[in-house]
């Protein structure tokens, strides 16, 4: 931190102040903080959710278990983690499209999707997606047929939501591992879908 700010009211210096005071109290250790940050950056992310979705697409019995009890199903893959007392997985179909939000703060299924993208935490998404979900999805590049019902899940308590997107056409020959590489975070929040590789989607 050789070139840091000299403004004592900056978030940077306030954070440093907080860290050094809590370190003096013996509550935290800076090396431990570094280690946890690395874990967030390297290990905890939407790849876990992608593995869950790929398995649900290729194993109908796992899909049933996942929709019935999200936590038990992801535990089969060795996934558990912070901020997720109960996971509910909502399946997209030709008739129903699901999308997840937290209007009161920014609750999100960290254990399967990692930390949320910035837009998920900002007032524009939080205020608008419950009122005009189709317009928001359109802005984000997803146009739904008028006949599709949109279900918005506002995570107002300790239940966390993840969307099980539809498997795209033309992926029948792909393995579970290959499928996991084409499933993106936005599809599991419900603001996107999964495209067939090679299509312009």
């Amino acid at each position: 931190m050789s070139e840091h700010t000299h403004d004592p009211s900056s978030a940077e210096l306030r954070t440093e102040a907080l860290e050094s005071l809590l370190r003096e109290k013996g509550l935290i250790d800076s090396a431990e903080i570094d280690k946890i940050i690395r874990r967030y950056e390297e290990d905890i992310g939407p790849m876990r959710g992608a593995q869950v979705v790929a398995k649900a697409w290729t194993d109908p019995q796992f899909r049933e278990r996942l929709l019935a009890d999200g936590n038990a199903a992801i535990a089969e893959l060795g996934f558990e983690g912070p901020q997720m007392d109960r996971l509910e997985v909502k399946e997209n179909t030709d008739q129903v499209h699901n999308v997840v939000v937290c209007t009161l703060c920014s609750c999100y299924p960290w254990a399967v999707l990692g930390l949320p993208p910035s837009w998920y935490k900002e007032p524009a998404y939080r205020s608008r997606v419950v009122r005009e979900p189709r317009r928001v999805l359109h802005e984000m590049g997803l146009d739904l047929p008028e006949t599709t019902e949109v279900r918005v899940w506002d995570s107002s308590a300790e239940v966390r939501y993840m969307v099980l997107p539809q498997r795209p056409q033309g992926t029948e020959a792909m393995t579970e591992e290959e499928l996991a590489t084409i499933i993106g975070r936005d599809a599991m929040i419900g603001v996107g879908t999964v495209s067939t590789p090679g299509s312009d989607g």
Partner: protein
């Protein structure tokens, strides 16, 4: 509380701004604030409901202007001072000394080392003896209630009629837990509201909004 955090349904926040390939943390302090908050909360036994309420109590300009991790930082500072872990003057003095590049002298304002607590985390779900008051499919109305403290009943659902979509396990009640008034676990429901019920003629076609609502937020609806 009817605060700025209760954003559902508000107009005026503009388009969704999506950044492609954004880093997980834009600035180093954001990552540190994220982790420090988690560690401090766990080791001091600061409940999530208390932390959320601390964010809600930030003044509206700070809430909107500080950004996500700015809110975390300000609310953690606020909470640590309120809980007697740090003094506000210590934080100010330490930031000043860091800005001036002075050697740090250990702060003595609130004494020395603090013993970390064990078992601060854990599930918010609880077993309760009483049966759920509402069955799936039951028409319910979200109460028109406006407590000044913490609540997880979003403003846009207040007074609106919905239907119970599912019964979840009973859960610690944030409205009391955030204020150290007890866990008071109660049944939690997934409640479905139609777009038309929430937004009238301005609703989009075929939209359903599901909220997770505590039993005491709900009353039977006889419509």
């Amino acid at each position: 509380m009817d605060g700025i955090h209760d954003l559902g349904g508000m107009h005026g926040f503009g388009p969704i701004e999506v950044e492609v390939d954004a880093p997980l943390f834009k600035e180093a302090w954001q990552a540190r604030t994220h982790v420090i908050t988690g560690l401090a909360r766990g080791r001091l036994g600061l409940k999530i409901d208390k932390f959320r309420h601390s964010i809600e109590r930030l003044d509206a300009l700070t809430y909107l202007g500080a950004g996500y991790y700015g809110r975390w930082l300000a609310s953690l500072e606020q909470l640590l001072v309120e809980e007697g872990i740090l003094e506000a003057s210590e934080l100010v003095e330490r930031s000043r000394a860091l800005a001036a590049g002075e050697p740090l002298t250990p702060s003595s304002a609130t004494g020395g080392k603090i013993e970390a607590k064990r078992g601060g985390g854990g599930t918010a779900f609880r077993e309760v003896a009483q049966q759920p008051r509402f069955e799936p499919g039951t028409a319910v109305r979200a109460r028109n209630m406006h407590p000044s403290g913490h609540t997880r009943l979003p403003g846009y659902a207040k007074g609106k009629q919905g239907a119970v979509a599912a019964i979840y396990p009973a859960c610690v009640f944030p409205d009391t837990n955030a204020h150290d008034l007890g866990e008071n676990p109660q049944h939690l429901y997934s409640v479905r509201f139609s777009g038309e019920e929430l937004w009238g003629n301005d609703a989009e076609a075929q939209s359903q909004i599901y909220l997770d609502l505590f039993e005491s937020y709900l009353e039977p609806s006889h419509e």
